[in-house]
Subunit: 311 residues, 2 copies
Amino acid sequence: MAVHRIGIIGLGKIAQDQHLPVIKSNPDFELLAVSSTRGLSHEDAKYTFQDYRELLKLPDVDAVSICTPPQVRHQIAREALLAGKSVLLEKPPAATLSELEDLRVLAAKTGKVVFTTWHAQYNKAVDEAKKALAGWSIKRLLVTWKEDVRHWHPGQQWIWEAGGFGVFDPGINALSIVTRIMPEPVFIKTSSLEFPANRDAPIAANLTFSMSHGQGDLQAVFDWRQTGPQTWDIEVETEAGMQLKLTHGGSCLEINGRVVVQEEPAEYQGIYRRFDALLTIGHSEVDDAPFRLVADAFMIGKREQVDAFED
Amino acid sequence: MAVHRIGIIGLGKIAQDQHLPVIKSNPDFELLAVSSTRGLSHEDAKYTFQDYRELLKLPDVDAVSICTPPQVRHQIAREALLAGKSVLLEKPPAATLSELEDLRVLAAKTGKVVFTTWHAQYNKAVDEAKKALAGWSIKRLLVTWKEDVRHWHPGQQWIWEAGGFGVFDPGINALSIVTRIMPEPVFIKTSSLEFPANRDAPIAANLTFSMSHGQGDLQAVFDWRQTGPQTWDIEVETEAGMQLKLTHGGSCLEINGRVVVQEEPAEYQGIYRRFDALLTIGHSEVDDAPFRLVADAFMIGKREQVDAFED
């Protein structure tokens, strides 16, 4: 199998912590170039650029991973596709759904691969949960995603701005697992969004869902004000009585009280294995389901004002 | 060409004012049945039901027009498709984007036609505007959609509730014209939403757009507080200097100051001509672009509180 020669655009925390070491450890990829507006370089990369447009001119680059902030991803991805490069998109894949749809259309036009990466979708626990639930009717879903924003996003003002998604920044991770494991699509039925008086993005959200069949009790609770232990759990109960619980952000799985999978998250290893497979067969994977649920939650959401929040 | 035997589900104002007379005047359609939860009947229909499920059991019905409130459209459309009927959806076609996506998937699975109808897309003025703009670079877009909610929606509390869309109820009409006539997709760049202190939906919105090419000045202003003359105008200027103006909600077109089309709106005639064509070739038309822009505007929108509004 040919090795994919890859460039990384944007050398922020996620590129440094995940993409670079995972690419290095995967023999199907060779890091050829990086670009960083701040002028950062990396020892493994043959070429370094400040302007990603220079990177896109390299004929040897087959694919790029776009690790910039979401606001500029669409424009960079467009130019990459038009330059004949395949594209891996960090999450969220674009600033809006319409931008993502544009990339889907452009992938088809150019024949290049676009791959939207969502949290935990390639974890073993998530795979096993999906298999266990396939074909069953769902009676109950409870998503509890509660974390301490002061710990995870200290001083990051942009997540509190309009378009910064607020508590949906972690919440979309939960939704990406839900859309993966549920045997049928879920739809947002009601949405309640808590906006701090001094902020333009929600700090907490309560969602209820429906499915096409059945009258299940389907809910999600997102909260960014959780101190002490952090909670990233998804519980599902089937009509037939199976109890399934994903914990630790989708890395551990219990079924009927028995531990089925318990592992350290190896999300990005799975992402790059998947990207290799997609590049080899020339097939795009543009999954907009988690993003659509977020947009639906904002569109039909009832806004409640809560106490001002300072971090 | 075979005549399409049609049922109407939901006999509210839009069915009475538009669907029934337009079906009667179109020889390609035969009204076979109606269903109305309030027990209304219609002289042209052979069968009348209170429960739409009874209507869906009629083997002779080829297609249904769903004219109920949007909250229940998805469920009815699902059942209609599974019963082997093609479906025309009043606007908006569903309560959320995820519901609409589900119908797109189900249309493909069942081989039946799903047709999303959007405001004014079949007007001659809109067709001519689309042709005139094709291939040109856009320098300026100004959408001005200002009307008096007290006149058009007296006492309709649901449009002020979360999920009722507020000023996007008329605004989506403007967006459906914009997505139709612009030579390339537009993306919401910024969105400012004015919520009355006592309401859960916006009374006004200011949007800016971007396109993939160029740095045009692209804007939309929606306002529901307009008294006196009502304004439903779309102005476009190309880089090459063409000035195009659609007025009267997309029924009149001026290009460079010259009136090109001026006609009474004949929206539903165009909708049923299109539905006939789609049924004949067995092809669905699920256009989610206007709905996606609305969801994007809510998702990245900055909320401003304004004076309470009583109607």
